[in-house]
């Protein structure tokens, strides 16, 4: 049986090689893949230089800001720029739609600014060419064109009956075809991912991405599974269809429906079901909670009175001017801590909304495997929403640490009532280490993307169900 499968696979490959239009398409797709990778690499390199220069500049500005009061330094603050991950050259993911820099200062956790999408015209909404886009949408179309008449033609010309009458099982024919067409896309993906692996793991790259090697291997497996599932589905449709025309129409509808229409409708539906508030209201609610408190006895005045009482009692003094610490610093930090609590509360609600919105898409991935592979691909490239959130959280932790250090110094070293008289310098600025970012371990992705993994696994499992069994030789 093995020999039969190989023979059939060889025959299929010869057939494909004879069709000039398919050869041209194959070349076009390979060229697009090469171009997208090259362009992705250039953009990655450009951004890497820009971001590194900017980050170094901001670090120098922080260290060389001169002597000043720590609270002024906390407002002067610093900036963090979202680093490009190496795999962003393969899959840009949401990089163009998330902000690229954030200003870290006291009191206000600013939103990320400058979405790169704002730097294009209307055309950007048609998408950017990345290697991931080629593998997710264009390669399946090539597979579709190659496979749609694989069975229908055999049925029309009668060769299938001939084969079966010679003792070849339907299963062998099916598997032979699956093997042949899988080899075609593997001819593209294997060298591509080996190249990416060499570039990423062996090349000298800045380590923003954790588990880079593992990520590339996982990417290879995910794309292989996706393309095998797609190939199998196409062959099955050809097997089930009465004519080549019907097979082609069904497959094209599937490709457009699951690759273009469903991803958009599901995301839009998610937004309709879980609408977002405006930034104006969002910020107002936060400011309101900071001022009036999240519960009735937590208003700004009450919190201050409680803080005062606590410190007077702790140090057994009658007035805050007698405290061994500068109460202004204590008060500022208390304000920060409460604002952090309020911000965390509101951000958690917002993140939950985003998650609900995205879950609609994840659920749709059971019908549309494209969504599963798209989400997993950007997750592995660390250009997805969760990676962005992780980066955002880490910048916020860094901001809080910076402000806490400034307030602590003010409380411990300056006197009550003095402000401009008290100055600190580089020695304090140095205690804030430079911001370094590394993505979370790849294993953490499973908790966010289990639905996508499940969807892709189901599509692959379908192979075993769809492949005709060896004792079934009835032609449909």
């Amino acid at each position: 049986m093995k020999n039969q499968i190989f023979l059939i696979a060889q025959k299929e490959l010869n057939d494909v090689a004879r069709q000039n239009s398919l050869k041209i398409l194959f070349v076009i797709i390979t060229a697009l893949l090469g171009f997208s990778l090259y362009a992705g690499f250039i953009v990655y390199k450009q951004q890497l230089t820009i971001l590194k220069t900017a980050q170094d500049e901001k670090r120098a500005e922080w260290l060389d800001q001169g002597d000043k009061h720590p609270h002024i330094a906390a407002h002067y603050g610093t900036f963090v720029f979202k680093p490009k991950t190496l795999l962003s050259l393969f899959d840009f993911g949401l990089d163009s739609y998330t902000g690229t820099s954030v200003y870290l200062e006291a009191h206000y956790p600013h939103e990320f600014m400058f979405r790169p999408v704002q730097g294009y015209g209307n055309m950007i909404r048609f998408g950017e060419l990345s290697a991931a886009l080629v593998l997710q949408l264009l390669l399946p179309l090539l597979i579709l064109f190659i496979t749609f008449q694989t069975f229908t033609k055999e049925k029309e010309t009668g060769t299938l009956k001939l084969l079966l009458s010679q003792g070849v099982t339907l299963r062998s024919v099916y598997l032979g075809k699956l093997l042949a067409y899988s080899l075609i896309f593997l001819m593209i993906t294997v060298p591509f991912f080996i190249g990416l692996y060499i570039l990423g793991v062996l090349g000298n790259t800045r380590a923003v991405l954790s588990d880079l090697g593992l990520r590339i291997i996982l990417l290879f497996f995910i794309y292989t599974l996706y393309l095998v599932a797609f190939t199998n589905f196409s062959i099955w449709i050809s097997f089930k269809s009465s004519s080549a025309r019907n097979a082609l129409l069904t497959l094209l509808i599937f490709w457009i429906g699951t690759g273009i229409i469903l991803p958009k409708t599901s995301a839009n539906l998610g937004e309709t079901l879980y609408p977002l508030s405006s930034i104006k209201k969002f910020k107002e609610e936060i400011q309101n909670d900071i001022k009036n408190g999240m519960t009735a006895d937590e208003s700004k005045e009450k919190r201050l009175a409680q803080l005062k009482a606590r410190y007077l009692q702790k140090y057994q003094v009658d007035s805050i001017s007698q405290l061994p610490l500068n109460f202004q610093g204590i008060r500022m930090q208390e304000g920060e801590e409460y604002a952090n609590k309020v911000n965390d509360f509101h951000n958690a609600i917002l993140d939950e909304r985003f998650e609900h919105q995205n879950k609609v898409g994840s659920l749709t991935s059971f019908i549309a495997p494209y969504i599963a592979v798209r989400n997993l691909s950007m997750a592995l490239a660390a250009t997805d929403g969760y990676s962005f959130n992780d980066f955002k959280e880490k910048t916020e932790t860094y901001r809080r640490h910076l402000i806490r250090t400034m307030n602590k110094d003010m409380a411990e070293n300056s006197h009550f009532g003095e402000f401009y008289e008290y100055k600190v310098g580089r020695n304090l600025w140095k205690t804030i280490s430079d911001f370094r970012y590394s993505t979370p371990a790849v294993t953490q992705l499973f908790q966010y993307y289990w639905m996508e993994f499940a969807s892709l696994s189901l599509w692959v499992l379908a192979i075993f169900i769809l492949i005709p069994s060896s004792n079934k030789n009835k032609i449909l």
């Binding site: 171009f35 971001l51 002024i72 720029f81 163009s96 979405r115 055309m123 998408g127 958009k264």
Partner: protein, 474 residues
Amino acid sequence: MKLISLLWWREGFSIIRNTFQMLLLFTTFLLGIYAIYYGYSKIEAQRKTISYVEHIEREEFEKYRKSFDKSPVSIQEKHFFDIASKPSYAWYRHEYNAILPPHNLAHLSLGQRDVEPYYRKLTGMSLYYQLFENELANPLKLFVGNFDLSFVIVYLFPLLIIAFTYGLFAEEKEKGMLPLLKLQTIGLRKILIIRMLFYYVLIIGLGVLLSLIGFFLSKEIDTLSICLWLLTIICYLSFWFALMFFLISLKKNSSSTAMSAASLWLLFLIVFPAVLNIYAAVVYPIDNTTIADITRRKGLENEDDLKEAKAVIYEYLEHREDLKGADSLLDTNVMAKTYAAFTSLNDHHNRQEVLDYLNQIRLRKKWISLFRWANPAVNTQGIFNEITRTDSGTFQSFYQSIDSFHKNITSFYHDKLFMNKQLKQKDYKVIPQFNLIVENTSINQTIMRGLIEVMGTTFLIFSFSLVLFKKITL
């Protein structure tokens, strides 16, 4: 005429009998309805936010105005009256909003309204500190884009055209009808054109029907926009019919025609724009890190140093010749004046950097727009956005209008602050108003140019195919 009605009846019957084609039509119609609903709900949400923002602003200024009616008693009232009457507080406490209201047809083509901010809170503080805040948005949703009517027309309608027409010639051949048809006195080309015309009327009719439903939801009827919208649909869909006519003229079998049509669809709607976008990013990289710094909140190193403070004010007054005499009034409200001068100077110093950044964007957009004519799909999407004023150009105008609005706000307060004048109740009648300056004539010219380009391409393809059909023999 008899022939036309005969062939059209035949096509009509064949559609009704063909469940697949009926399903396609019905699905597209339903998707169109959902797209209109989605666009409408999105724009309604923006309208609500806008009216909320406007309401807050109106209420706040009304309170300021009314605070002059009676003498303040409590500490809170006194503080509020200070904010209402003293420019030293008012210049940074009074909050204005610059608003880009949605066009009447914005729900049909959302364009950049989800990506770009459509309202901006402004005080007399540094413009750039306030200019770059983004609206809340799910990045995945922004990436996927909007399912609005323009998407249905630009992406899905061509597929409908392909599905209905790819087999018009080849299927007759495959069914063995061709020899029979050739026996007729009417040419094959004529029969084909008449049959295509049936689908032309049907599909354009569907597009017009959906648009009418969309227009029905508009707050006001704007005849010019409606006419342009309908004309755009006709031009764009004509282009796809011409393209299909070209493919049919090649007289390949139905599968080849369908494959070529799908490939062309992919080329125009995905590959071509995607390649251009990434190439634009390579050729015109944009560095926004340089202007990140201008959003930084800066202050004086030492507020107690009067000499430093006055130096800042003098520097500012050098740029404000209209505030003659203000330098002799420095001793009142020194700190407020210093900060007002300081932020204005900051904006002044940073202006060039911002202009350079905006210029980088302008150059990239200009380069991308050079290729617009070559892709009717991109061209049409651009036209739809321009008709509904959701295009990136309109947002650029919005930014520019914000710039001059901010200038008006600062002048309004600075004039009083530096001349030691108080705000009076009557001043609230002349507070700065946001004026959106959109160059309608230039937008309409771009629309017309776009339409002519699509029409030109359609005409060329159609004429070429007419000749080709005759030349290619089976």
